[in-house]
């Protein structure tokens, strides 16, 4: 299995490996300083973890829920982190498990209950008086998000990381512990599935 090469640095958003040393020092500080350093951990790494959560769940409305669960667990289990070099993988594992747990809980809830009334989606007043172009744009975005949500998580996760974080194949492979070729193949299949699902949508 070919391991990904060392990732290149990026300025913004944060690259997968450019702040490895920073993450180690922050975690070490968190052990001694408690909350302030943990707060900084959140600020430094919340963004890419949210991208991971969206990639796994496929639903933007669940990201906040899962992210809070993740950071609570991180704060509770910080003392148990022994290997500073595995911190990114440790954070990813917590986020992945939390996202999968909530996804499963949501699916079970939907299977058991049938709601007579559905809460209307907030539209921000866009549909009432906006031009036709804005309405069509909103509908296109909804279709795209539904199609992305329908992707298998296996393909959606690298697709989300690529588009939300701008990471390279090597960086994605390093986080997901996949060879670069596998990351590439999954992105190809994600695009193919989206293209098939959205056939006929005007360019």
């Amino acid at each position: 299995m070919k391991r990904p090469a060392a990732a290149s640095t990026m300025t913004e958003p944060m690259s997968a490996s450019a702040t490895g040393e920073t993450l180690r020092s922050l975690t070490a500080a968190a052990h001694w300083n408690g909350r302030p350093a943990a707060d900084q951990l959140v600020r430094e790494h919340d963004r890419w973890l949210r991208s991971v959560i969206y990639g796994i769940t496929g639903r933007a409305e669940l990201v906040d829920d899962v992210a809070q669960q993740v950071w609570l667990q991180v704060c509770q289990r910080l003392d148990s982190l022994k290997a500073p070099d595995r911190q990114r993988s440790w954070l990813y594992a917590i986020a992945r498990n939390a996202a999968l747990d909530l996804s499963r809980a949501q699916r079970r809830l939907q299977q058991r209950t049938n709601s007579l009334e559905t809460v209307p989606e907030p539209d921000g007043g866009a549909r009432g008086a906006s031009p036709v172009g804005s309405v069509l744009r909103g509908e296109l975005q909804e279709r795209l998000l539904r199609a992305i949500s329908a992707l298998p998580a296996l393909y959606r996760e690298p697709f989300a990381l690529r588009h939300l974080e701008g990471w390279s194949y090597a960086e994605i492979g390093e986080l997901l512990e996949l060879p670069i070729e596998t990351v590439e193949t999954r992105l190809v299949r994600a695009r193919r599935l989206l293209q098939e699902m959205l056939k006929g949508v005007a360019l």
Binding site: E12, P13, G34, R35, P36, A38, D39, Q40, R50, S51, Y54, A60, E61, L62, V63, D64, D65, Q68, L72, A105, Q106, L109, T113, N114, S115, L116, E117, V119, E121, P122, L140, Q141, L144, L145, A147, I148, F159, A160, R162, H163, L164, G166, S168, Y169, E184, T185, L187, V188, R191, R192, L194, Q195, L198, L203
Partner: protein
């Protein structure tokens, strides 16, 4: 039993999709990009497919970022411009520095002429001090007014809002109304 026949046409299609994908992800080398451009010139169908994938990529990325409240990513594949491109900017910076150090020291005209910078003051400094927006906003908000959030179709029992100090959090407990329909079956 289904047997997959991996023929040359399928392999070629996958290779073409992989090429398009690598170019879209800024992972393709110069030779691959050249190959893509050549294929686009030679085959209109391939060009249409590549354009469709590019459009899909742009729109899907924009939709995800909008859903998560993110700004657009910087454009990929942007190479550093050659040094000579910085020459006009460098010249403008030098001019600005010179004006700042050696700017006009004219006295105000008795007849009320053009307002000039005071001696030792840069021309580019704002005339009024910048007002802190946060000071204005914070003074008009009570602690319970922050933040305003609307949550739809979520199961959270609480909301955690970071406070002003590191390590300080405001925990809000939600009172939710559950609407559940239970099927009533009649047995005879």
């Amino acid at each position: 039993m289904t047997h997959w026949i991996w023929n040359d046409a399928m392999k070629e299609a996958l290779d073409l999709e992989r090429l398009i994908s690598r170019v879209l992800d800024d992972e393709a080398g110069p030779q691959e990009r050249k190959t893509l451009r050549r294929l686009e010139r030679q085959d209109p169908e391939f060009a249409a497919l590549a354009e469709e994938y590019a459009w899909l990529d742009r729109e899907a990325g924009a939709a995800m970022r909008a859903a998560l409240g993110r700004a657009a990513l910087p454009a990929p594949g942007r190479k550093d411009p050659p040094a000579w491109r910085y020459a006009p900017l460098a010249a403008a910076a030098c001019l600005a520095l010179m004006l700042g150090w050696f700017g006009p020291q004219r006295q105000a005209s008795p007849t009320g002429g053009v307002q000039t910078a005071q001696a030792g003051q840069s021309w580019f400094l704002p005339t009024t001090p910048a007002r802190s927006v946060s000071e204005t906003d914070e003074s008009s908000l009570t602690r319970l007014d922050r933040p305003y959030q609307r949550h739809v179709a979520v199961d959270r029992d609480w909301i955690i809002v970071p406070g002003d100090e590191p390590g300080e959090f405001l925990v809000l407990e939600l009172n939710k109304i559950h609407k559940v329909a239970v099927a009533i079956q009649q047995d005879f």
